[in-house]
C-alpha cells in the first residue's frame, strides 16, 4: 500500500472507514491516561497548581506548528506530484490547525494572568504564534473566497509554502524584537530540564493530541471528499435541469412554429 494507491478517493474512504474507529479509541484512551496523570502530577514549588495548564498548553502549541508542516507537505503534493488528495488534506488541516493555535493562545493567556500578571504581552513567542494564527485565518479565507477547488488549491499551496519559509523568519525577528516567554525546556541541547513527574504526562498528552489531530484530520478529509461529491452531483443535476428545460422550450417553439405554419 503506497501513497499513490490512496489517489483513488473510494479506496481512501474505505481505508479510513476501517482505521478511524481504532484511531478514535486510541485517542480517547491516551487522552484519559494523560489527563489522569496530569491531574495527579505534583504542584510546582513556584507556580502551584497553575502548572497543570502546561499539559494542555504545550501540546496545543506543538501541534499548531506541526499542522503547518503537514499542510506544507500536502502543498508540495499538490504542486509537485499533483496528488489528488493532497489539496483535500491541506484544506482539511487548516481549520484544525487554526483551532490548535487558538487554544494555545487562549491557554497561554490564562496561564499568563497568574504568572506574569497579564493576559497579553507583546512578547516574541506570543506574537509569532498570533501571526501564525492570522496566517491560518488568511488561508481559510483564501479557500472560502474561490469557488473552484482546484484553482484555490494551487493558490493556497503556494501561499502555504511561502508561509513555511517565512514562519522561522518571523519567529527569529520577533525573538530579536522583544521577549518574555521562557526558552525551550523540553527539546533542547543537553536533555530536558523538566522533572520526570512532569515530563511523562506531558509526553503522553503530546502523543494523545497528535493522535487527536490525525483522527480529526482523516475525518475532515472524508467530509471534504463527500462534500465535493455532493457538489459535483448537484452541478450535474443542475446542468441536466437546465438542459431539459432548454429542450422543452425548443420543442415548444417548434410546436408553435408548426402551429403557425
Amino acid at each position: 500500500m503506497t501513497l499513490i494507491d490512496l489517489a483513488n478517493p473510494t479506496r481512501f474512504l474505505a481505508l479510513t472507514a476501517r482505521v478511524l474507529p481504532w484511531l478514535a479509541a486510541a485517542t480517547v484512551i491516551l487522552l484519559a491516561i494523560g489527563l489522569y496523570q496530569s491531574a495527579y502530577a505534583p504542584d510546582d514549588y513556584q507556580q502551584g497548581a497553575t502548572v497543570k495548564i502546561m499539559f494542555i498548553h504545550v501540546p496545543n502549541a506543538w501541534l499548531s506548528m506541526f499542522v503547518w508542516g503537514v499542510m506544507s507537505i500536502a502543498s508540495l503534493g499538490t504542486l509537485v506530484w499533483r496528488h489528488p488528495l493532497a489539496d483535500v488534506a491541506a484544506k482539511a488541516a487548516a481549520p484544525i490547525g487554526a483551532s490548535f493555535t487558538f487554544l494555545a493562545l487562549l491557554t497561554g493567556s490564562l496561564w499568563g494572568r497568574p504568572m506574569w500578571g497579564t493576559y497579553w504581552e507583546w512578547d516574541a513567542r506570543l506574537t509569532s504564534v498570533l501571526i501564525l494564527f492570522l496566517m491560518y485565518l488568511g488561508l481559510m479565507a483564501l479557500w472560502r473566497a474561490v469557488d473552484d477547488p482546484s484553482r484555490a488549491a494551487r493558490a493556497a499551496a503556494v501561499l502555504t509554502l511561502v508561509g513555511a519559509i517565512n514562519l522561522p523568519i518571523i519567529k527569529f525577528s520577533v525573538d530579536w524584537w522583544n521577549t518574555l516567554h521562557q526558552p525551550a525546556s523540553v527539546m533542547r541541547m543537553g536533555g530536558s530540564t523538566l522533572d520526570k513527574s512532569f515530563l511523562i504526562p506531558l509526553l503522553v498528552m503530546a502523543i494523545a493530541f497528535t493522535l487527536l489531530f490525525v483522527t480529526l484530520h482523516l475525518a475532515a478529509m472524508r467530509n471534504e471528499i463527500l462534500r465535493r461529491r455532493v457538489r459535483s452531483l448537484q452541478m450535474m443535476q443542475a446542468s441536466r435541469v437546465a438542459f431539459s428545460s432548454e429542450l422543452g422550450t425548443g420543442s415548444h417553439q417548434e410546436n408553435a412554429s408548426k402551429g403557425a405554419a
Binding site: L142, R151, A155, V162, G163, I165, I169, S173, W176, W177
Partner: protein, 222 residues
C-alpha cells in the same frame, strides 16, 4: 538581456503615464502621514517619537496598495499571456516586473520621505535613517507583495483578501526597519545589526518572490 531591459523600461513607462497610477502611491503615503496627527493629536514631541513607525506604516500600506495592479493590467490586455509564453524564464520576467514596479512606485516614496519627516518633526539624522532603511526595506515589500499580486490575478480577486494574506509576511521587514531607524534616534542598539538583517530580508525576498509568483502564475493561469 535586451528583452529584460525592454520589459523593465516598458513597465516603468506604463506606470508613469496617464492611467499608470504609480504616483498615486506617494499621494496616499502623504495622506496617511497627514492623518496621523489628527489621530494622536498635534503633539510634536510625541510625533517625533512615533515618526519612524508612522513613516514605515505609511510606506508599507502605500506599496501594498499599488501592488494590486502589478499583473492585473497586463492580464486584462493579454500581454501577461505573451510574457508567460515568451522565451524569457517566467521567474526572470516576474523579477523584472517587480523591479520596474519598485523603481516607479517605491523610489518616489523614499524621495518623499524627507518632506514627510519635516511634517513629523524628525531631525536630519532621523529622516536620513528612515530614508535609508526604506531604501533597503521597500524592495522586500515589493518582492513579497508580488506573490500576493500573482495570486490576485490567478484568482480574479484582489483587494482586502490579498492584504490579509500578504501583510503577515511583511512583519519582519517592519520590525527591522523600525528597529534600525529607532536605533539611530534613541536606541542603545547599534544601527548596523538590524540594518544588515533588513538587507538580508530584501535579498531573501529577491529569491523567494519571483519563484513563488512564477509558480502561482504558471499553475493558475489557463
Amino acid at each position: 538581456m535586451t528583452a529584460l531591459s525592454a520589459l523593465i523600461l516598458r513597465d516603468i513607462r506604463i506606470a508613469l503615464r496617464v492611467g499608470g497610477g504609480a504616483l498615486i502611491g506617494v499621494l496616499f503615503f502623504l495622506t496617511v502621514v497627514v492623518l496621523m496627527p489628527f489621530a494622536v493629536g498635534p503633539d510634536l514631541a510625541l510625533l517625533s517619537r512615533l515618526g519612524p513607525a508612522i513613516l514605515w506604516l505609511g510606506a508599507l500600506l502605500a506599496s501594498l496598495l499599488t501592488l494590486d495592479r502589478l499583473f492585473m493590467a497586463d492580464h486584462e490586455d493579454g500581454s501577461l499571456d505573451l510574457i508567460t509564453m515568451g522565451r524569457m524564464p517566467l521567474e526572470l520576467a516576474c523579477a523584472a516586473k517587480a523591479l520596474a514596479h519598485w523603481l516607479a512606485a517605491g523610489l518616489p516614496l523614499i524621495v518623499a520621505t524627507p518632506l514627510l519627516g519635516l511634517l513629523l518633526n524628525l531631525d536630519m539624522v532621523a529622516t536620513g535613517a528612515v530614508a535609508l532603511t526604506l531604501l533597503a526595506g521597500t524592495p522586500a515589500l515589493t518582492f513579497t507583495g508580488m506573490i500576493g499580486a500573482a495570486l490576485a490575478v490567478t484568482l480574479h480577486r484582489g483587494g482586502l483578501l490579498m492584504a490579509v494574506l500578504v501583510l503577515p509576511l511583511s512583519i519582519p521587514v517592519l520590525i527591522f526597519g523600525v528597529a534600525a531607524s529607532q536605533a539611530v534616534i534613541v536606541g542603545p542598539m547599534t544601527f548596523g545589526a538590524p540594518f544588515s538583517i533588513l538587507c538580508a530580508l530584501s535579498l531573501v525576498s529577491f529569491v523567494i518572490g519571483p519563484f513563488a509568483a512564477a509558480a502561482s502564475l504558471r499553475h493558475g493561469l489557463d
